[in-house]
Structures are given as structure tokens and as C-alpha cells.
Amino acid sequence: MTDALLWRITRIGLAVVAASIALFPFVWMVRTSIAARDSITVDGLSPLPATIDLSNYVRAWEEADLGTAMLNGAVVTVAILVLQMLTCIPAAYAFAKLPFRGRGPLLLVVLACLLVPTQATALPLFLGVSGLGLADTLAALVAPFATSAFGIFLLRQHMVTIPDALLDAARADGLRTLATLRRVVVPAAMPAIATFAVFSIFVHWNDYLWPLLVARDPALHTPPLALAVFQQADTGQDFGALAAGAVIITAPVVALFLLAQRRFVAGVAGGELPG
């Protein structure tokens, strides 16, 4: 009994400590976002600034044109997500469950792609994209990420664990490959798919280097590019507006993550063995 109580206290304690460390910088981000310009940098350990001023949000929204940027960000992120799902799920399934000649070497190529840092390929990719006349278009922001070696590998690692009995049963029911994918594999791999979706959304929503290179037109700016307005090298930074902007652009994706968590739970049922 006391053991159970002790364990309960320990894990709650651990959870509180871990959550505090994770949360702490965000508290300061929010603090900065609601601080008046002259009280942002004033010392103190209090999580609330001396003067609360919401004008940072107004400035962030208007000066950075965050409305347009968030719309662009949403279009780009969703387009990338959909394309990645359409290309990665079938490929991962093939790697996990379909025997074919050259599967090992091809998987190694996919793995090797994980090793290629995007910073190294940025310039050739930019030259290629420009050569195709795609510079300064939404397509240039999406196309290079239409599939993901990372996604294929992640999903493949999960699909390997899907019991063959499940697939055999589907086949016995007369399902074709695509139907099997949709009705058996996708539900069974849902935790992994949700994980990858979350990863993809956050990575591309926050991506900075590539959009900086290809999206020059302010009408194409994605959220992180829009925020750069408040980081003027020459003329000083506007911390309050930067923090407010960061809160504005982080909130919707975090809300999305809260929703996506249901998929993690839903995945359990699909992953269960029949009978």
C-alpha cells in the first residue's frame, strides 16, 4: 500500500518536474509577448511582467502580415502532408511486407537519403527549382518535400510489426492491395502515421532555410519568414512582437497536436490481433 502511494507520488513528482522543464521557456515566451516594451528586459523572477500590454499581438499580426503567412503556411504544410502520406504509406508497406528483388539495397538507398543533410543539397536543389521556373511559387515550397525518406523508414519500422495473419485474413477476404492498405494497414499503423504527421507538420510549419531561399515574394511568406521582420539586423529587434508572433503561430499547431492525440489512442484498437 505504502509502496503504491510512494510510486504514485514519485511519478507525479517526476511528471511535474519534466513538464516544468518542457514548459518553462514557453512561459517566458508568453511573458515577453504580453510585456510592455519598456518592461520586457526588466529583471525579476516573476512570470508576469510589470506592465501587461497586449499591443505586441496587434503589432505582430499587422506588421508581419501573419494572416497571409499562416494561410501560406497552412497550404504548404497540408500539401506536403497529403503528398507525403500518399507516397510514403505505399512505399513503406512495400518495404515492410512485399518481397521483391532488390528490396534490401533500395531500402539502403532510402536510409542513405536520411544521411544527406538538407543544408548540403540546398543549393543544387535551388538551382534545379529555379531552372524549372518554380522559384517564388508555392510549388517550390512543396515539391522538394513531396515524399520523405524519414517517413518511409518510420512507417516501415512500424508496418514490419503488423502480424502477417492480419494481412492473410484480408487477402482471404478478397481485398486487393489498395483496399488492404486502406482497411488494414493504415488503421494498424495509425500510431506511426500520426507520429509522422505530427513530425511533418511541425518541421514544415517552422522551416526557415528553404523558404528563405525560394519564397522571396512577401505574399508567399511562411510564418517563420514573416516573423523575421522583427529581427532587424541593423535597426534592432522587437522582442515583444517577435514573442507575440511566435505564440500566434505556435498555438494552432499545438491545438492540432492535442486533437491528433486521439489518433494515438485510436491506433490501439487497429493494432490488436484478431481473435
Binding site: 516594451r37 519598456d38 529555379s130 522571396r216 515574394d217 523575421a228
Partner: protein, 426 residues
């Protein structure tokens, strides 16, 4: 299995390399001809492209309207960068040119003039097309070997920000004019407050302020042959202020951004940076203490010789007629009204005499943001390292400043830095 994969990659790589050499080898070097006369050029169907950072937007928008009205049929295409950093702006334009889209007019950081001239053969600037009121004393900061290439637009020189509430509290009333006055005042302030009172930039624009110290101390920054000129007794004496700040604990080893934060929080007595920050600092301080913007202290016995920061416009057109239109566009962007507005927004030094007169009459001219408006000195070119060595050299200069302000002696750090730079520019 994996060996096959890698072998295949290698073969592919070799093929691609061959194709590239075959294609790239014959590309002609960018040729330049002098700008033609606008009157002899047909504007129909001409599209001029301008690459610039957001701080130039007002000027570009205005000039676009004027030029398109003056020459029906001509279109000005705007390529605004998402970044206000001149290094990143340069990266983008370099990438654009590599991808085959060379802008006609580009904004360049004044520290990169020589890089552009040495690497990309811009058109010489047609100074005759500039407005009558353009302040000629600024032209030389955009010149290389006597030839004008860049029309300076938003110009600044390093200045001293002082929290006078703090310094007066420590009994210091006069603004320091020399580095030894700065050090004496700093010691006094430190004795009163207990914390390090000075910040000379240790990153970002570290090279800019170091150049100001070196030149003002009577040493050459770059020798005519391109080698570093400050490995001399004058140079070492000019840079010794950094060492003293380090050894006596008068400057904390923090970043330039953190220095601004410390200043606006009222914790820092003295800071050297660009006057262009005055507007944003003014908003952040919001009257919580008194502060001033004055001349940067120079080494004892020296005379101010300050490099020009900021940006200017450059013509990259390869066709004489396009170059002529590009020059006219630049003239429009340097309109007195535009200069007045940008100086008001960012407290830059006005490069137009009419704008300067307007600004001098403005009530705000007497405040901190007015320092640049009434600046009468003549800045020198910034940097000037040959070829594409500038970014590397700036890294070495930054390392030098960081080592000195950490207390390492001038006698070892400066010769070492000179050696590193010499091998990079060779």
C-alpha cells in the same frame, strides 16, 4: 549489397560531374559595357528587376511608380528578400545569379562593395544621373579604386550610446572622446555599480567597430595590396582598448544583441553600435532613464576615421540600355523625400543635402535619434578586402575582438590575426 548501392551512386556522381563541367566550362564571364543614354533606349517590354532587403521597400515602391510613369512600357519587378541581414541578402542574390536570374539593381551592404565589384563586375554608377542635391561626400564609400559602383542609401557610422543616469550617478558628466577617457569613465562607473559598464560589439558588426578603432588610431585597415595593415604599433595601440576592457573586467563577454538588451534594461552604461538602432532603443527605453548618442571615442591622439555602415544601390545589368534605366531607378530611389522618411524611421545619416536640411529643422534633431541627421563627418569605405575573402576575414576579426575582450594580450592576438587574414586574402 550496400556496396552495390554506393558504387552506383559514385558512378552517377561521376556522370553528373562530367555533364556539369561540359556545360559550365564555356559560360562567358559577365561582360559590362557603359550605360547607354536613356533617350536612345526603347522601354517597351523591358522588365527591370530589383533585389533588396525590407528596409528599402519604401524607396523601391516609390521609384517603381516614377520610372514606370516616365517610361511607358517598362516594368519594374520587385524581389524583396525576407531578411534584413546583408549577408543573407548577398547569399540570395548570389544564388539567384547562379540560377541564371541576375537582378538589374541590387541593394548591397556597404561592407560588401568590393566583394561585388571583384566577383560580379557591376556597372559603374552613372553619378551624373543622381539628383542635384545628392550629397557627393558619400559617393567614395561606394567606390573601388576610384570608380563609383554603389550609390550609398542608408548610411551610418559607429556611435557611443551612454546611459547618462548611470554615469552621472557615478560622477561622470562629460562624454568620453578618447578611448582612455572611456576607460577612465568606465573604471569610475564600475567602482560605483560593481558591474562591467562597457560593450564594444563582439559579434555581428565587430569588424566594423574594430576597423573604426584601427583607422582612427592612425593605422591602415587594408593595405593597397590587399593585405591587413594593422599589424603595426599604431594598430596594436588602437586595439589595446579591447584588451584593457577584458583584463580589467570592464566589458562582459556577451553578444551584441545581449548588449542592446542590457542597455535598454538600464544595466549598461556605455555601448558602441549603429545609430540606426536609436529608434528601436528609444521605444524600448521609453523614458525609464536618460541616455545620449555621441561620437564614438577614438584612440588617444587619433582622429575619427569611421567606416560607413548601412547599404547602397548597385547596377548589375549587363545590357547598356537596361543599365541606363537602372541608373535612373537608383536616382529615383535616392529622392530627398525618401531619404527623409528612412532617416526618420531608422535614424540613418541622410545622403541628400535637401533631406539633411529638412531633418535638421525637425524638433527631433536634438534628440538621440537625430545624431545621424546632423552628422557632418565624412565616413570611409567599410571593409575593402579583395575578392571573396570578406566573410572569412570578418570571422577572424570577430575572433580577435572576442579573444581581446576575454583578456588575451594584443601582442599575441593581433599578429596571429594578421597572419590568418594574410593567408585568407592571398
Amino acid at each position: 549489397m550496400s556496396r552495390i548501392g554506393i558504387g552506383g551512386l559514385a558512378a552517377l556522381a561521376a556522370t553528373a560531374a562530367l555533364v556539369l563541367t561540359a556545360c559550365g566550362g564555356g559560360a562567358p564571364a559577365a561582360g559590362t559595357a557603359a550605360a547607354a543614354s536613356v533617350t536612345s533606349c526603347d522601354p517597351t517590354g523591358v522588365t527591370l528587376s530589383v533585389a533588396y532587403a525590407p528596409q528599402g521597400d519604401t524607396a523601391v515602391q516609390l521609384a517603381k511608380t516614377q520610372l514606370e510613369q516616365a517610361h511607358p512600357g517598362l516594368t519594374v519587378q520587385l524581389k524583396q528578400s525576407g531578411t534584413s541581414s546583408y549577408d543573407q541578402l548577398t547569399q540570395q542574390i548570389v544564388a539567384d545569379i547562379a540560377a541564371g536570374s541576375r537582378p538589374d539593381v541590387a541593394m548591397v551592404g556597404l561592407g560588401q562593395v568590393r566583394f561585388w565589384v571583384d566577383r560580379y563586375q557591376p556597372q559603374p554608377l552613372d553619378t551624373a544621373s543622381l539628383k542635384q542635391t545628392y550629397d557627393q561626400r558619400f559617393l567614395q564609400i561606394g567606390a573601388v579604386d576610384g570608380q563609383n559602383f554603389v550609390a550609398p542609401f542608408q548610411v551610418s557610422v559607429p556611435v557611443l550610446y551612454t546611459n547618462s543616469t548611470l554615469t552621472r550617478g557615478a560622477g561622470v558628466t562629460a562624454a568620453p572622446a578618447t578611448t582612455s577617457e572611456l576607460l577612465a569613465a568606465a573604471r569610475q562607473v564600475k567602482a560605483a555599480t560593481g558591474s562591467a559598464p562597457v560593450q564594444l560589439p563582439r559579434d555581428g558588426i565587430a569588424d566594423w567597430v574594430a576597423q573604426a578603432m584601427i583607422q582612427s588610431g592612425g593605422a591602415a585597415f587594408v593595405n593597397p595590396d590587399g593585405s591587413p595593415g594593422f599589424g603595426t604599433p599604431e594598430g596594436e595601440r588602437a586595439l589595446s582598448v579591447y584588451e584593457t576592457l577584458g583584463t580589467e573586467g570592464l566589458q562582459d563577454p556577451i553578444s551584441a544583441t545581449d548588449a542592446v538588451t542590457a542597455f535598454t534594461a538600464g544595466r549598461l552604461a556605455y555601448m558602441v553600435t549603429s545609430p540606426a538602432s536609436a529608434t528601436s532603443i528609444s521605444k524600448a527605453v521609453n523614458g525609464s532613464f536618460e541616455w545620449t548618442v555621441t561620437d564614438m571615442p577614438v584612440p588617444d591622439g587619433g582622429t575619427p576615421s569611421l567606416p560607413a555602415g548601412g547599404n547602397g544601390w548597385m547596377v548589375l545589368s549587363e545590357d547598356p540600355c537596361r543599365a541606363a534605366f537602372a541608373n535612373e531607378l537608383i536616382a529615383d530611389m535616392l529622392d530627398p523625400e525618401v531619404i527623409t522618411q528612412s532617416s526618420k524611421a531608422f535614424s540613418y545619416i541622410p545622403v541628400d543635402t535637401q533631406a539633411a536640411a529638412t531633418l535638421a529643422a525637425d524638433p527631433a534633431a536634438a534628440t538621440q535619434v537625430g545624431y545621424g541627421w546632423t552628422y557632418t563627418g565624412t565616413p570611409t569605405p567599410w571593409g575593402g578586402w579583395h575578392g571573396d575573402s570578406t566573410p572569412r576575414v570578418n570571422q577572424f576579426l570577430q575572433d580577435m575582438v572576442q579573444r581581446l575582450t576575454s583578456g588575451e594580450p594584443v601582442a599575441t592576438v593581433v599578429p596571429e590575426t594578421v597572419r590568418r587574414i594574410s593567408s585568407a586574402v592571398r
